[in-house]
């Protein structure tokens, strides 16, 4: 019997398995679909490692733990540490000032020619130099490979914690059906716009249609992401698509010529305060509620789960019932 069985091979489950394996435990990893893919919300993420920007809305715990995410990820995948930019259209200048007041780790930039020549027309931006990003699907694949190299394959089975003997980590996201967990729908679109060259994530503040754009390899850009209090399982709505594309077009009309490669929608699991938790419930430890902070918070959450299981250390995200 394995020391620990992890259910769910999304970003939380993979990080939990990886962290526990590195801590010297024997780990089984079981996923309904045999690995990460379009069935899980990790697949649809932006891959921004932007703790300071997230601090504009998120609780301080997200900022504090998120700051270590880029370093943790760099041990398994390529992390692009070029910072991130926040901009607003001229008439929404007030939004930019407010964002600056509510976040740390940035400096004002009035000339973007050196940072992002394609944004030279923008006269005011916030530069979050210590932020980073990664390619989420590549990161998931790299985690699976790293686990494979440690003899932890992803087994395919539909199972629940009750079916598994011994200690279990349940990282099945919204599928875990935990009390207090709700679904927040998110939608995204991927474009190919080879004419445009952006090298770091960009947030466009807007009173109605906020947008972020994350560069991916091969001239691709991920545009995200809506945040709707709904457990709707449908695909992206036309309205959301129009809003995201409209905002991108306003930022750079060349996005109008882009090829639409993909749209996606899925459900983020979230607790009431939108902060993820390690819920210890007897022999079952739940890693859940990562909301829009899966890639930002999974390393820290996995670390706290591992510290609890191996040493009984109770971190600030751990809740023991």
């Amino acid at each position: 019997m394995a020391d620990v069985t992890v259910l769910g091979a999304g970003v939380a489950g993979l990080w939990a398995a990886f962290t526990l394996s590195r801590a010297g435990l024997s780990v089984r990893l079981i996923d309904r679909h045999g690995g990460p893919g379009p069935h899980g919300c990790s697949w649809w993420a932006g891959g921004m490692l932007a703790p300071f920007c997230e601090g504009a809305m998120a609780e301080p715990a997200v900022v504090a733990h998120g700051r270590a995410a880029a370093t943790a990820w760099a041990t398994v995948t390529e992390v692009i540490a070029r910072g991130s930019l926040v901009v607003a259209l001229a008439r929404d200048r007030g939004e930019l000032e407010r964002f600056a007041r509510r976040t740390g780790g940035h400096r004002q930039v009035t000339d973007l020619r050196a940072l992002e020549p394609d944004l030279a027309g923008i006269r005011q931006a916030l530069f979050f130099e210590r932020e980073a990003h990664l390619d989420p699907r590549r990161a998931l694949a790299d985690l699976v490979a790293a686990l494979g190299a440690r003899d932890v394959p992803v087994e395919t089975a539909e199972t629940t914690p009750e079916d598994i003997p011994g200690p279990v980590i349940d990282a099945r996201g919204i599928g875990a059906g935990l009390p207090g967990l709700r679904a927040v729908q998110g939608e995204m679109v991927v474009l190919r716009a080879p004419e445009i060259r952006l090298t770091r994530p960009l947030r466009l503040l807007h009173p109605r249609h906020p947008l972020y754009i994350v560069p991916r390899p091969d001239g691709q850009y991920m545009l995200g992401a809506t945040q709707i209090e709904s457990a709707d399982r449908r695909g992206m709505t036309a309205r959301s698509l129009m809003e995201l594309l409209g905002a991108a077009y306003a930022l750079d009309p060349r996005f109008g010529e882009a090829e639409v490669l993909e749209t996606g929608a899925d459900l983020r699991p979230a607790f009431a305060d939108n902060v993820p938790r390690v819920l210890v419930r007897g022999r079952v430890v739940h890693l859940n509620g990562l909301f829009r902070h899966g890639y930002l918070m999974a390393p820290a959450l996995a670390r706290q789960a591992a510290d609890w299981i191996t040493q009984g250390i109770k971190g600030d995200l751990v809740d023991v019932d």
């Binding site: 709700r182 679904a183 009173p207 709707i228 457990a231 009431a272 305060d273």
Partner: protein, 258 residues
């Protein structure tokens, strides 16, 4: 003398004259805390985006323990608004509906014609319509003819936080229909805006962004609670009339004056 009789909202009296929206908070936990701090007696919820599947979120709203006023936010036609209102009645088991029919995409200004058309249909179906309208008196009269018993004139366009854009128009509207309960809805950005609306004799205020998007939503909720209470008390206390002539509040005996 200011009228001090509380006007009722389709037979209901509100514990406090504050209605609070439920969108755009950093998290449901902050939303709950803001509601507690505000003492709001009514929660408005939008059905356009947070569609019927958001069960967990609805449970949070129901758990606030206040009256729920569903709205038709984001509807751009009478037909859309009517459909949304019917969905809302089923989902929340209430005849109350804040009727919003948007006529202009940029200013989100109400469409008076669509609004009137939807109000007639919904009132005939037994809905208790809270009509989101402008300060236009003619439209107000038509809405009352259609069966509306509560009006919600705007302060300023939705989400702008500009306060009361047309105090003169709002004063005229208040004076024209003294028996009709009215809620200033939309455009309030600061507690002083809410106090001003209450001082003018409006029965309540409705806001959302001003609290939800504040740096500290809970503190701002409390600030609005104090402001509406101050404004309401001031209205009931019959404020002095403004006057052109300065009048010293302390007599100055012994000083020469001319």
């Amino acid at each position: 003398m200011a009228d001090t009789a509380a006007r009722d909202f389709y037979g209901a009296t509100l514990d406090t004259p504050l209605m609070l929206g439920t969108a755009q908070y950093p998290s449901p936990a902050v939303l709950e805390a803001a509601f507690r701090a505000s003492g709001a007696s009514v929660a408005t919820v939008s059905l356009r985006r947070e569609a019927g599947q958001g069960q967990a979120f609805w449970e949070i709203i129901r758990g606030l323990g206040v009256r729920v006023l569903p709205n038709t936010a984001g509807c751009h036609s009478a037909g859309e608004a009517i459909t949304t209102a019917r969905m809302a009645r089923e989902l929340f088991d209430t005849p109350w509906i804040k009727l919003e029919v948007i006529g202009h995409a940029d200013t989100l200004q109400p469409d008076p014609f669509g609004l009137l058309e939807a109000a007639e249909v919904l009132a005939a179906e037994g809905f208790e319509v809270f009509a989101y309208t402008t300060e236009d008196q003619v439209l107000a009269a038509r809405l009352l003819d259609a069966g509306c018993r509560v009006l919600m004139p705007w302060g300023a366009p939705i989400g702008t936080g500009l306060g009361l854009n047309n105090p003169y128009g709002l004063r005229c509207l208040r004076a024209a229909f003294p028996a009709i309960p009215m809620v200033i809805d939309a455009g309030l950005g600061l507690p002083s805006h809410a106090a001003q609306a209450m001082e003018m004799g409006f029965d309540a205020v409705l806001l959302n962004t001003a609290v939800a998007q504040a740096g500290d939503p809970v503190a701002m909720a409390r600030a609005f609670a104090l402001a509406v209470e101050a404004g309401r008390l001031a209205h009931m206390a019959d404020p002095m009339a403004p006057r052109e002539m300065a009048a010293p509040s302390t007599p100055l005996p012994g000083k020469a004056w001319l």
